[in-house]
C-alpha cells in the first residue's frame, strides 16, 4: 500500500514540477510549486520520513507557492508556445531518474528519492533556462524542496525553510535595477 | 724561517733569476734584434736597449711598472740552477699567466685589433705547448717537466718544444716585425727561459749549471730571432705565420691525447 502511495506522490511531484517548468504565469507557477510540494510530501511520508519533517516540507512548499503569487507574469499561462522542449525534458528526467534508481523504484524510499531527483533536475532546468527573476525564484524553491526530499528530517526542514525563504524574496523585475 | 725565506725570494726577484738577469738577457737580445731585424749598425744596436730602459724610466706609469714586475715574477719560476725560490714552490702556470698578463699590459697603448688577434692565437698555441706535457706528467714544476725522459713521453715533449719555439717570434712580436716596445726587453728571459726549463733537462745546481742555463736560454732566443729573420725573408712564411701554429697545436694535442691513452 505504502509503495502505491509513494509512487503516486512521486507522480504528483513530477506533474507539479512539470507544471512549474511549463508555466509562464504566476498562478501556474504557484500551482506547480504547491503540487510538487504535495507530491513530495506524500512520497516522503510514505517512505517513513518523520511526520514533523513531512509537514514542514508541505508547509514550506505551500508558503513558497502562496508568496510567489505576489509577483510575476499575470494569470496561468501554462504551456505557452515553445513549451515542447520543456515537456520532453520532463519525460527524459523521469526516465533518467528511473534508470538511476531502477533497483529500488519499487520501494517507498526509492520512489521518494526518484521524486526528489526529478523535481531537483527539472527545477534546475528551469533555473538554467529562464531569464525571469520570479520564475527563477519559484524554481529555486522547488529545487530546495526536491533536494530536501533526498535527505532525512534535517533535509526536509532545511528544504522547507529555504523554499519559504526564497518565496520571501521579491520577484519583481523592477527590483533588479534597485538592487 | 720566514725572514730568511723572504730575503731569498727578494733576491730572486731583484737579482737572480729576476730583474738583473732579465734586463741583462733582454738587453743582449734586443741588441741582437736591432742588428738582425732593424739592420742597424753595431753602435745603434748596442744603444737601442739603453734607449728603451731610458724611456721606461722617463715615463713610468702604473702599467708600465706592472710589466717588468710580472716578467720578473715569471723569471723566478724558471728552473734556473741556484734559483733561491724553492723548486717545490715554482709553477709553470704562474710563469705562463704572469707572462701573458705582461704581454697584454705591455701592448695596451699600441693596441691594434689584428696584432692582438695574432697574439691571442699564438698565446693559445703556446699554452697548448706548455701545458700538454704537464697534463701527462700531472706536474707543473718546470724542472720536473724538463727532467722527463720517459720514452713514451718524448714524442710529445719534442713536438711541444718545437711548437713552443715556433710561438716565440709571435709572443715577442718579432713577426711581423714591429717598432720594439719597451716591454719586450723584459720578456726575453722569462719566455725563452721557460722553454729551456720545461723542455731541456736541468743542469747541475752550481755556477756551471747556471751558466749552461743562461747559454741555452740565449740559444733559444737566438733561434726565435732566426725564425723571425726567416719569416722576414721568406714571404710565404710570414703569410702563413701564425696560422701555421694552429695545426701544429692540434698535432701536439693529438699526441698528448694519444700519450695519455697509452701511458
Amino acid at each position: 500500500m505504502t509503495e502505491a502511495i509513494a509512487v503516486a506522490g512521486a507522480a504528483l511531484a513530477w506533474l507539479g514540477v512539470t507544471l512549474l517548468a511549463v508555466a509562464e504565469g504566476r498562478r501556474g507557477l504557484a500551482l506547480g510549486l504547491a503540487t510538487a510540494a504535495g507530491g513530495l510530501a506524500t512520497a516522503a511520508a510514505a517512505a517513513g520520513q518523520p511526520p514533523l519533517g513531512v509537514t514542514a516540507l508541505l508547509a514550506g512548499g505551500l508558503a513558497a507557492a502562496v508568496l510567489r503569487l505576489r509577483s510575476g507574469g499575470r494569470g496561468w499561462n501554462i504551456l505557452p508556445p515553445g513549451s515542447t522542449p520543456r515537456l520532453m525534458a520532463a519525460l527524459v528526467a523521469v526516465l533518467g531518474a528511473g534508470l538511476v534508481a531502477s533497483s529500488e523504484i519499487a520501494s517507498p524510499a526509492g520512489a521518494a528519492r526518484v521524486a526528489g531527483l526529478v523535481v531537483a533536475a527539472l527545477a534546475l532546468a528551469r533555473i538554467l533556462t529562464t531569464e525571469r527573476r520570479w520564475a527563477a525564484l519559484g524554481a529555486g524553491s522547488a529545487l530546495a524542496l526536491g533536494l530536501g526530499t533526498l535527505g532525512g528530517a534535517t533535509g526536509l526542514v532545511a528544504g522547507a525553510a529555504v523554499a519559504a525563504g526564497l518565496g520571501a524574496i521579491d520577484g519583481a523585475e523592477a527590483a533588479e535595477a534597485g538592487g | 724561517m720566514p725572514i730568511r725565506d723572504l730575503a731569498l725570494h727578494v733576491v730572486a726577484l731583484l737579482v737572480y733569476p729576476g730583474a738583473l738577469l732579465t734586463i741583462a738577457v733582454g738587453a743582449a737580445a734586443e741588441a741582437a734584434c736591432a742588428v738582425a731585424l732593424g739592420a742597424a749598425g753595431a753602435r745603434e744596436a748596442l744603444l737601442a736597449p739603453a734607449g728603451q730602459v731610458r724611456t721606461a724610466l722617463r715615463r713610468p706609469g702604473t702599467l708600465r711598472l706592472t710589466v717588468p714586475l710580472l716578467a720578473v715574477l715569471a723569471a723566478t719560476q724558471l728552473a734556473a740552477p741556484l734559483n733561491p725560490v724553492s723548486p717545490v714552490a715554482r709553477n709553470l702556470l704562474v710563469a705562463a699567466i704572469a707572462l701573458a698578463a705582461a704581454m697584454w699590459l705591455g701592448w695596451v697603448t699600441t693596441w691594434a685589433p689584428d696584432a692582438s688577434r695574432a697574439t691571442l692565437l699564438v698565446q693559445l698555441c703556446w699554452l697548448v705547448a706548455l701545458v700538454t706535457p704537464a697534463l701527462i706528467s700531472e706536474s707543473l714544476r718546470p724542472q720536473a717537466l724538463g727532467a722527463v725522459v720517459v720514452p713514451a713521453q718524448l714524442p710529445l715533449k719534442v713536438a711541444a718544444g718545437v711548437l713552443a719555439l715556433l710561438c716565440l717570434p709571435g709572443l715577442l712580436r718579432l713577426v711581423p716585425a714591429e717598432e720594439p716596445a719597451t716591454s719586450r726587453l723584459f720578456l726575453w728571459l722569462p719566455l725563452c727561459g721557460l722553454l729551456t726549463s720545461v723542455f731541456v733537462p736541468p743542469g747541475s745546481e752550481d755556477v756551471a749549471g747556471a751558466i749552461r742555463f743562461v747559454a741555452v736560454t740565449l740559444g733559444v732566443a737566438a733561434a726565435a730571432l732566426g725564425l723571425a729573420v726567416l719569416a722576414g725573408r721568406v714571404r710565404a712564411a710570414a703569410d702563413l705565420y701564425p696560422r701555421l701554429l694552429v695545426p701544429a697545436a692540434a698535432v701536439v694535442l693529438a699526441i698528448g691525447v694519444g700519450t695519455s691513452l697509452l701511458t
Partner: protein, 392 residues
C-alpha cells in the same frame, strides 16, 4: 566590501539592508553558540572552519574600514554581515545535503545584490552546484550499481568546483560590477568555505573506489584550473581578467592538495584558502580603483614587494602552500610535481602586472595595503601556528 562605480545603481532600501545585516548577525551568533544549543549537533564548526570564519571576519573588517570605497560603509557592513552569516552556515552545517540546500538560499540571496546582470543568470552557478552536491551525495549513499557511486563522487567534486565558479563552470564577471555582487565573492569568499569543510564530511561516507574518483577529479580539475589561470592571467588582454585568473591559480593548488588526500595536502588547501580570503581578495579590492581607471597603475617598491607576494615567493603566504603541494604531489607521484613546478614558475609572468594595478594609495588605504602585506608575511613565515590552531 568595496563596490565599484555603478551609475545604473539605485540606492538599496535601508530596511532591506537592515534585515540582511540582522539575518547575517543572527546566523553568525547561532553558529557560534550552536554547541550550547540542543540542536548543536547539526551545526558543528570544524577547527579549520573556525579559523577561516575568523579570517573572513578580519578580511571584511579590514576591507570595510581601510579599502577604497565608493558606497556608504553602513551598506558594506550590512552586506558583509550577511555574507559572513551565509559563510558561517556553509561552514557549520554538518549534513552535506543541508549544505547543498543552503547553497540555494545563499546563492539566490546573493543574486539580489546590485548588478547589471540578470538575477536568474547570477543564480545559476549556486543552483547548479547545489544540484551537483545534492545528487552526488544521494548517489554515493544509494545502494545500487558501482557506477552510481562513481557518478556521485564525480558530482560532489564538480559541485565544489561549480560553487567556486572555476573551470569548467566559469561565471561571467562584469568589470564594472561591484565585488560584493560579482562572482568573485563566490570564488574568494563562499567557495573556500565549502571546499574547506565538505571534503572531510563527504569522504567519511564514501567507499574507497568512490573516494578515488572524487580525489582524481579534484586533482585533474586542480591542474586544469592551475594551467588555465596561469596562462590566462599571463595572456589575457585586460587586467581585470588577469586578477580573476589569479584566483584560479590559488584554487588549482588547493584542489590538488585536497584531491591527494594527504595531511599536508589538506593543510596546503587550508593555508591557500586562508590566504585567498585574507590576502588575495583584499588585494583585488585595493586594485579595483586602478582596474576601473579611476586611479593610475604604477610600479613602486611596494608594488614590487606585492608582485613577489602575488607570485607566491618567500617570505609570503604563497611559499608554504607551494612547498606543501609539491611535497604531497611528490609523495603521491613525483611526475605530478613537474606541471606544478612549471605553473609555479609561470606565476611570475603575471604577478608584476597584477601588482602594477594596485597603484599608489595614501592614508587609510595605504595602511591597509601594508596590513595585508604583513598578514601575508605572517602566513608565509609562521604557517605552523595556523596549522596547529586548525589541528592539521
Amino acid at each position: 566590501m568595496i563596490t565599484a562605480r555603478a551609475p545604473w545603481r539605485l540606492p538599496v532600501p535601508a530596511p532591506a539592508l537592515l534585515g540582511l545585516a540582522a539575518a547575517g548577525a543572527a546566523t553568525l551568533a547561532l553558529v557560534v553558540a550552536a554547541p550550547l544549543l540542543p540542536f548543536g549537533d547539526g551545526l558543528r564548526l570544524t577547527a579549520p572552519g573556525r579559523v577561516l570564519l575568523l579570517a573572513s571576519a578580519v578580511a571584511l573588517g579590514l576591507t570595510i574600514v581601510l579599502a577604497p570605497h565608493r558606497v556608504p560603509r553602513w551598506e558594506l557592513v550590512a552586506a558583509g554581515l550577511g555574507a559572513l552569516g551565509g559563510q558561517a552556515l556553509l561552514l557549520a552545517v554538518a549534513d552535506p545535503l543541508a549544505v547543498a540546500i543552503l547553497l540555494v538560499l545563499v546563492g539566490f540571496a546573493f543574486a539580489t545584490r546590485p548588478s547589471a546582470r540578470p538575477f536568474s543568470a547570477r543564480a545559476r552557478g549556486p543552483a547548479f552546484a547545489a544540484v551537483l552536491l545534492g545528487v552526488g551525495w544521494t548517489f554515493v549513499r544509494m545502494p545500487g550499481p558501482a557506477w552510481v557511486g562513481r557518478a556521485g563522487a564525480l558530482a560532489l567534486a564538480l559541485g565544489l568546483v561549480a560553487a567556486a565558479g572555476l573551470v569548467p563552470y566559469l561565471a561571467e564577471v562584469d568589470p564594472d560590477e561591484p565585488a560584493s555582487s560579482s562572482y568573485v565573492a563566490w570564488t574568494g569568499f563562499f567557495g573556500p568555505a565549502l571546499a574547506l569543510t565538505l571534503p572531510g564530511r563527504l569522504l567519511t561516507s564514501m567507499s574507497a573506489a568512490d573516494a578515488a574518483v572524487f580525489g582524481a577529479t579534484l586533482v585533474g580539475l586542480g591542474l586544469v584550473n592551475l594551467a588555465w589561470g596561469t596562462v590566462g592571467a599571463w595572456r589575457t588582454a585586460t587586467d581585470m581578467d588577469a586578477w580573476r585568473y589569479s584566483f584560479l591559480v590559488d584554487w588549482g593548488l588547493a584542489l590538488v592538495g585536497i584531491g591527494l588526500f594527504g595531511r599536508d595536502g589538506f593543510a596546503a588547501a587550508y593555508l591557500a584558502f586562508v590566504a585567498l580570503v585574507l590576502v588575495r581578495l583584499p588585494l583585488y579590492l585595493w586594485a579595483r580603483p586602478a582596474l576601473l581607471g579611476s586611479r593610475p597603475a604604477r610600479l613602486g617598491p611596494l608594488n614590487v614587494l606585492l608582485a613577489v607576494l602575488l607570485a607566491g615567493a618567500a617570505p609570503f603566504s604563497g611559499f608554504p602552500v607551494r612547498l606543501l603541494v609539491l611535497n604531497v604531489a611528490t609523495q603521491a607521484a613525483w611526475p605530478l610535481a613537474i606541471p606544478l613546478v612549471a605553473a609555479m614558475l609561470m606565476g611570475i609572468t603575471y604577478a608584476m602586472r597584477l601588482a602594477r594595478t594596485l597603484g599608489e594609495h595614501r592614508g587609510l588605504a595605504a595602511i591597509g595595503l601594508w596590513v595585508v602585506l604583513g598578514i601575508s608575511l605572517v602566513l608565509g613565515v609562521l604557517p605552523g601556528v595556523l596549522r596547529a590552531v586548525a589541528g592539521l
